[in-house]
């Protein structure tokens, strides 16, 4: 331990001794680490946005439906609204939403469109994008509200507006088409085209009353759950599947496989980005550290001449390399975190809105700092520093004390 303190002390002083060279080395590491932290936070922000979008698009982390509903949706594949949803105490729920979600046809005086008529309890929709809709007119007041809320794009297509009446045709529980007139309470702006075109909302209870039969007086076609921690998704899915073998329990990855793939690709992209940046940096570090060892050939040779063992010499060179890396990484992480906080309000990409939406991104890209990423990134960087020290250390061990003395 005493010897380790000595070597640490020696390494620290050597780092300070070549302060100019090491300053540039620290700066290079810090800029690389800081830049990569920021870019990772932006990529992670995009990933989180996509995940939130996927989850909030009426799917939740987990959704329960009757078998066959996904392929052929209809009220004949509904289940009772009082179906018990219970998770273990170790899984915290952010919210649960019951809905009826049926294909329907909506007609105004001028146009007709196919849509999804969704019966909701607005109080439960704090887990979906419904909560973020910017409403013109009025929002639904509760599950018994029998009015409609439609998207702005659909309102434009139907050439209708708040306060007007539209007709919706939907199949009831007995398989008969029911036609009913609705007044438009509000028109929502979803900042995305597809919900505005496709989704039409009304009160769940009102919809149940108009479509139910005596067999299932309060039907729902889906129950969505959002968990506090997404990591509990699979555990929750298993628990619900065993509780409700009569229902199909899917997680968001199964419901939105394309987004799941993109999220995975993003993870891989971050790893590749990290390897590329840090790989280049490591090569630079190796080069500088070898130069540093060569510069101190006489000193290292003298240490060997005095009787310093190979193990201690190796430890000293490694400590110096890792020390440089640790300092650079710490400064880099601080720089990266500062930049992330500096961009806390996000980067406005509205000038490129069309291209940005094509990539499933919001026009406001907010960096997301993930502690796990920071620790992993910091840890891997130090590990790379350790690997980078191998070559200079090997070079140091090749120094003959005699050669060093004769320089």
């Amino acid at each position: 331990m005493d010897t380790l303190v000595l070597l640490f002390n020696l390494s620290l002083r050597n780092i300070v001794r070549y302060r100019r060279r090491n300053f540039f080395l620290f700066a290079a590491i810090a800029v690389a680490v800081g830049g990569t932290t920021l870019s990772n936070a932006l990529i992670r922000g995009w990933q989180v946005y996509m995940l939130e979008t996927a989850v909030s698009a009426l799917t939740g982390h987990i959704r329960l439906q009757a078998p066959g509903f996904a392929d052929d949706p209809g009220l004949d594949k509904a289940f009772a609204a009082d179906t018990d949803i219970r998770l273990g105490e170790d899984i915290a729920l952010a919210g649960v939403a019951q809905r009826i979600n049926l294909p329907a046809v909506i007609s105004s005086e001028r146009e007709t469109r196919g849509v999804a008529l969704v019966g909701i309890n607005p109080a439960q929709e704090n887990i979906s994008f419904y909560r973020d809709f910017v409403m013109e007119g009025e929002a639904l007041t509760g599950p018994a509200d029998g009015r409609l809320v439609i998207g702005k794009a659909l309102a434009d297509t139907l050439q209708t507006q708040v306060g007007r009446r539209v007709v919706v045709i939907v199949e009831d529980a007995d398989g008969k088409s029911r036609e009913r007139g609705y007044r438009i309470a509000g028109v929502f702006d979803a900042s995305m085209q597809w919900p505005e075109q496709l989704l039409v909302f009304t009160g769940l209870q009102a919809m149940q009353q108009s479509l139910a039969n005596s067999r299932l007086p309060a039907p729902v076609t889906e129950v969505s759950l959002v968990l506090q921690q997404e990591e509990n998704r699979q555990l929750a899915q298993r628990q619900l599947a065993s509780q409700h073998p009569e229902l199909v329990v899917k997680d968001w990855r199964q419901m939105s496989p394309q987004i799941a793939e993109i999220v995975d690709i993003v993870d891989a992209t971050m790893a590749i980005w990290f390897v590329m940046i840090m790989g280049a940096l490591t090569l630079g570090l190796v080069n500088t550290l070898i130069a540093a060892v060569m510069q101190r050939t006489q000193e290292l040779g003298m240490l060997r001449a005095l009787g310093m063992s190979d193990r201690l010499l190796l430890t000293q060179v490694v400590l110096e390399s890792v020390g440089i890396m640790v300092v650079g990484v710490v400064f880099g992480l601080i720089l990266g975190v500062a930049m992330v906080f500096g961009l806390g309000d996000g980067i406005d990409l509205s000038a490129f809105s069309e291209s940005v939406e094509a990539f499933g991104m919001s026009t406001l890209l907010r960096p997301v700092l993930n502690l796990e990423d920071l620790f992993l990134f910091g840890g891997l960087s130090v590990l790379l520093g350790l690997l980078a020290s191998y070559f200079p250390a090997r070079r140091a061990l090749k120094i003959s004390p005699l050669m060093a003395m004769n320089r």
């Binding site: 009787g307 190979d310 201690l312 004390p401």
Partner: protein
């Protein structure tokens, strides 16, 4: 660690070289640095290895110190056959039994004078309190008691070489090897330093071998060995 045999008796040889050859390959041409050197050094001797550049004096010193190998012959230091030691054992031998003083001082620039002296004790695993007192004692014996906190860059050449000697003797080695220790010093400092080495030899009985081409050095040593072309040509310690 390689244990040295008891060498304190004046009659027992500390160093025994027999027919030592050292051959370097220069562009595939063998160059004989040592051509069968025979040398016996007893405990308490202060020996100068003199000779012109290329005579083999530094090579012989390096071979004795275990810094360089040899191609033929035998070298025993403190009764231990150096040829039988692994590089790690040689390092241990140097650490525990041989003190080195180099021409270029070779102090660790980032450590203070005291830390430089303590450093080698720390490598030996000596406890911190003992280390400090031994380092201070060694520095005091070199007249550097007040300069322990200074770094090498803040010391004169003579002072640096005294620190190097303090570092070499702090471990109480069996043998002190000095390679051209005064080459970088002016004549006044040279005389002072040689007086220090002579005191170490005469008062503490330390066995010292120094390579030099400086005639002043030979005035201070008790035995002069002259080398030429890798051979020992004259040794005033050898009686016919």
């Amino acid at each position: 660690m390689t244990e040295f045999a008891e060498t304190s008796k004046a009659t027992s040889p500390v160093v025994e070289c027999r027919g030592v050859q050292r051959i370097y390959q220069q562009d595939s041409v063998p160059v004989y640095a040592l051509r069968g050197a025979d040398l016996t050094i007893h405990a308490g001797e202060f020996v100068s290895l003199a000779g012109p550049s290329g005579s083999g004096k530094s090579t012989l010193l390096n071979v004795i110190g275990g810094l360089d190998g040899f191609d033929a012959g035998s070298v025993t230091v403190g009764g231990v056959d150096l040829a039988a030691l692994t590089p790690a054992q040689l390092a241990q031998t140097r650490l525990h039994n041989v003190g080195f003083v180099f021409q270029a001082y070779n102090l660790i620039p980032v450590l203070s004078a005291r830390e430089n002296v303590e450093f080698i004790l720390q490598l030996q695993g000596v406890a911190s309190q003992q280390r400090r007192s031994r380092a201070d004692r060694a520095l005091r014996s070199m007249g550097l008691a007040e300069l322990g906190d200074r770094r090498p860059g803040e010391l004169s050449g003579g002072q640096q070489q005294r620190v190097a000697i303090a570092r070499a003797i702090v471990t109480e080695p069996v043998l002190l090897l000095a390679d051209e220790p005064t080459a970088n010093l002016d004549s006044k400092t040279t005389s002072e330093l040689l007086a220090v080495l002579r005191d170490l030899n005469q008062q503490q009985g330390m066995t010292i071998v120094t390579a030099t081409h400086d005639p002043i050095v030979m005035e201070y040593t008790s035995r002069q060995v002259t080398m030429l072309d890798g051979e020992i040509r004259q040794d005033d310690g050898v009686t016919a």
